[in-house]
Symmetry: C2
Subunit: 126 residues, 2 copies
Amino acid sequence: MTIAEVGKKYDITPDTLRYYERIGLISDVPRTKNGIRDYDEKSCKRIEFIKCMRNAGVEIDILSKYISLIETGKSTVEERKKLLEDQREKLLAKQKTINETLDRLNYKIKIYEDIASGKRKDFTED
Amino acid sequence: MTIAEVGKKYDITPDTLRYYERIGLISDVPRTKNGIRDYDEKSCKRIEFIKCMRNAGVEIDILSKYISLIETGKSTVEERKKLLEDQREKLLAKQKTINETLDRLNYKIKIYEDIASGKRKDFTED
DNA sequence: TATTGACTTGGAGTTTACTTAAAGTGATAT
DNA sequence: ATATCACTTTAAGTAAACTCCAAGTCAATA
């Protein structure tokens, strides 16, 4: 698969894919005899994983660390597990924050609805 | 309240509070005769709101727009409601993304646990 | 054969959201 | 009185994560 195809498949620009490769997030991407990237299954899976984590806001530094642990080999399994657990904690905290903010948004939207329907005349921001 | 006190109360640095004021996110902060900020209830509520939204990842541009709508007056109620609804949609989408990523993290962590407990010997990343 | 188009590289530029620095003011502590 | 401390301003600097640009290569098509 060419870089354009992979980019389309995962909704990542070729520039970003090259950037990820440059910083070591994606390694060992196969090339044609002319030096053009020809992504294989393994690379695609890696990209899909990174895309998923990045979408949720996991930082590149963390992902770099994780990838380097994988590349170091079996001895890093415990450390990898710890890293993923830490990220899970962060995402759970983020989830909680978002829920709180959603409650607040719902409350404010309701006030605006009441104003629109004439149920409420007075209101003070915020 | 001084800027340092407000900063401590909401866990925002004084520099960030001045920055928010500079870009128009927080306006009409009262001052002492010497020009020192003396935050009142209204300013504090605004800060608390902004902090909540920023924690959830709502962008400063969006908050600026919202604040300017508030300052324009009652005629913008409908537009404000729309803006908040858009942000709610974004947060719901983010929530969904995070949940998917959490599922994936849980799956991977489980694999690492199985490896640690000897239940599983073979594994291929990712 | 000439041009088009997708790819390559290295490096510079952009965006968002702060963060820090430099220079100065004014009230309080020694 | 002098030094300390928290505050003030304007402006420049930083970090993270891309994003774009210039110059060049190669295969395919007009």
